[in-house]
Amino acid sequence: MSPERPFVLAPGPHLHAAETTARIMWWVNAALAPAAVWGVFVFGFPALAVIVATVAGAAAAEWLSSRALKLKPSLADGSAVCTGLLLALTLPPRLSMWMGAIGGIFAILFGKMIFGGLGMNLFNPALIGRAFLMATFPLPMTAGWAAPHRIFGGSAEAVTTATPLAALREQGVDAAMRLAGGPGSPWAGLLLGFRPGSIGEVSVVLLALGGATLFLRGIIKPTIPLSVFAGVALTTAFSGTLGLHLLSGGLWLGALFMATDYVTSPNTRDGQIVFGLTIGMLTGLIRIFGGYPEGICYAILIANTLVPALNTWFRPARVALAGAPS
């Protein structure tokens, strides 16, 4: 033993919990994987192409911009892949690859890097990408739906169809339920995911499984998702189609994976309840009164703007003073 050897002098604590930001991001990616794989299974190779292109676009934008801005390389932290994957799962399965790639690039550049990178952004980057694609390519973004296939790669000439929510808006409940049905009962179709829709939104069961994984890992809490569902229920209960609203569209994807994004959601439980309810109610209102069959994308983006105010209004409780010498 030589006392002269150099020992590291660092401030305490000298221990660290195992959880790191990169691990959290990769867990979110892993939790999304079943829904993504299912999307490819039911919609075939075009869906896989959209996912690959979108993730590649996001990752390339992250790598290039962090180099250009001389930031620490951040691709390995998984957050850019997460943004790309989340965006891809909100896209129609038959979208052109290059549109997906542009969406991924835009999401990273204008959703995240322009604010200063990870942790600084006001809006959910994936939804910024989606909103951009909706504005830029309205037709492919709303009409590129494919009917689901049970067999991988089968019947490449997909029947273009409407999503259940679009059908509900235009043709009524019966048409929506027929579309939701797939091979079996409409409810089973909604839950399991044999229905037209975005790549990652179709299987409520697999999204719930991913959400449950994140919950059990201590990464997300149920506060925001439950508040979102409550908000949707409050606003759609009287339309007679509550069940359809709760089980369809990107609600589960948005409530479990996007509204729970740490950076763009409030920090305290009370703030999160208001945030979630706002998202849910805006989603319901957009679906019933607005111009889109789906609504959660814009609902989350609007609610994102409230986060700084919610963080100011709802502060963590300081430990209260109590007791005195008797």
Partner: protein, 450 residues
């Protein structure tokens, strides 16, 4: 024991791996051989340094007083028998260097005797305080504040409960645990002696429930004391860091909450560590000075982890060689526990009165990888036992706006380390809080000066 409701604090906290298994079942071993040399810094406690009573070449006997404490300070005693070397500046674990009396061991093993005072239970408070001071006792849990001063309450302050802290919530450390197992009667008697000084009759000893053997032993000792009319309760606490922080233990055991930046006496409580209580017993009963302490030498970088009883002033290098030496790939030396302990640059440093642990660790520490941006996950806010917002404070400090951090509680932070431990972006949140605190204090000073 499962039926006993466990006590704990209300908010926050975390559960780092306890890592106590390395030393928990190792009884306290006196260091062998006795150190060849001890370094006794004249500045061992908070306050002005002590004045030497010996000079170079003097022969001193273990137990002999060799320096007199200034007003409010405590004296220093020779912890081994030997010859005084030149008094000069030596390295020190926290003060970098300080004037120290160095004693080189000689062959004779003479030491002072400390016979029991048969009337020790009925001495006056003043006499008891004087004996505690004479014995050189300071807070052995880490603070090193002179114990006789802590027991002398300022005008107008009233205390009705004495808490004895046996929580030992820091990972790795088992020195208090082993002391509670080997000296429960001394701890209880020391606590009762302090209660008599304070004129109170309620003593509560808090222990984290993973130390079941210590809990049972102390309960037995407390029951024995209670037969003689005293009231000592032993309270099992949840295993949760920082259960052993003063204000957390006060809340766990009494339900009272110490106001930010105030002492526990603000809510009528005084907290003393179990090792301090045992030392007080020795001082009051035998007039025996504090000469040795139990220190846990552990970590994945030490070959044979142990609980060691060593004279104050023993060099850390000697402790380490008694414990089998360090592994060649050891990278870090920590004085104290891994959560609040301090990294040391070297091993030729003396064991101080308040050093309850010496950890030798391998591998890279949390900050050697650098840190990432705050993702506002809220884990630090949840972990903070005071409900502060280290995340928000750290972002303001990073942005060069530390004066905006008061609302996030920077001034109240006592640096337990929970926030940094849980931060997934591995941000040094405690240090951000420190920076915020010093900027706020500086601004406050400037304002006060006009």
């Amino acid at each position: 024991m499962a039926s006993i409701p466990l006590r704990t604090f209300h908010h926050g906290g975390t559960h780092p791996p306890k890592s106590k298994e390395h030393t928990a079942e190792r009884p306290i071993e006196p260091i062998q051989p006795s150190p060849l040399e001890v370094w006794l810094p004249l500045q061992q406690h908070i306050g002005p340094p002590a004045t030497p009573l010996v000079k170079k070449g003097d022969r001193v006997v273990r137990g002999q007083r060799i320096a007199e404490g200034e007003a409010g300070g405590v004296p220093i005693h020779a912890t081994i028998t030997g010859k005084v070397k030149p008094i000069d500046k030596r390295p020190h674990p926290t003060l970098i260097t300080t004037e120290s009396i160095v004693i080189a061991r000689t062959e004779d093993s003479e030491e002072l005797e400390f016979p029991e005072d048969p009337g020790w239970r009925s001495i006056s408070s003043e006499e008891a305080l004087a004996r505690i001071r004479e014995a050189g006792i300071v807070g052995l849990g880490g603070a090193a504040y002179p114990t006789h001063r802590k027991l002398t309450l300022p005008e107008g302050v009233r205390v009705d409960i004495l808490l004895v802290n046996g929580a030992e919530c820091e990972p790795y450390l088992t020195s208090d645990y082993r002391l509670m197992r080997s000296a429960p009667l001394e701890i209880v008697e020391g606590a009762l002696a302090m209660a008599r000084i304070l004129g109170i009759d309620r003593v509560s000893i808090g222990i984290e429930i993973d130390k079941a053997a210590a809990f049972e032993g102390l309960r037995g000792a407390a029951a024995e004391a209670s037969r003689n009319g005293a009231s000592v309760e032993v309270v099992p606490c949840e295993v949760r860091y920082p259960q052993g922080a003063e204000r957390q233990l006060v809340t766990a055991l009494t339900g009272r909450v110490v106001p930010p930046r105030a002492l526990p006496s603000a809510v009528g409580v005084l907290v003393q560590n179990v090792a301090t209580a045992a030392a007080v017993h020795d001082a009051v009963r035998y007039r025996k000075p504090l000469l040795d302490r139990v220190v846990t030498v552990s970590g994945d970088g030490i070959l044979d982890p142990k609980n060691v009883l060593a004279p104050i002033g023993t060099l850390l290098a000697h402790l380490v060689s008694f414990c089998g030496g360090i592994r060649p790939d050891a990278t870090r030396i920590i004085a104290g526990g891994p959560m609040m302990g301090r990294a040391l640059p070297r091993l030729d440093l003396p064991l101080t009165k308040s050093m309850n642990g010496l950890l030798i660790l391998r591998g890279r520490g949390p900050f050697e990888r650098g840190f990432m941006a705050c993702i506002q996950c809220g884990r630090c806010v949840e972990a903070c036992p005071l409900g502060l917002e280290p995340d928000q404070a750290s972002i303001r400090v990073e942005a060069g706006r530390p004066l905006e951090t008061e609302t996030f509680g920077a001034l109240d932070c006592y640096e337990c380390g929970c926030c940094t431990y849980v931060c997934p972006s591995e941000r040094p949140l405690v240090q951000f809080m420190q920076l915020a605190k010093s900027a706020l204090r500086r601004a406050g000073d400037l304002k006060a000066r006009g």
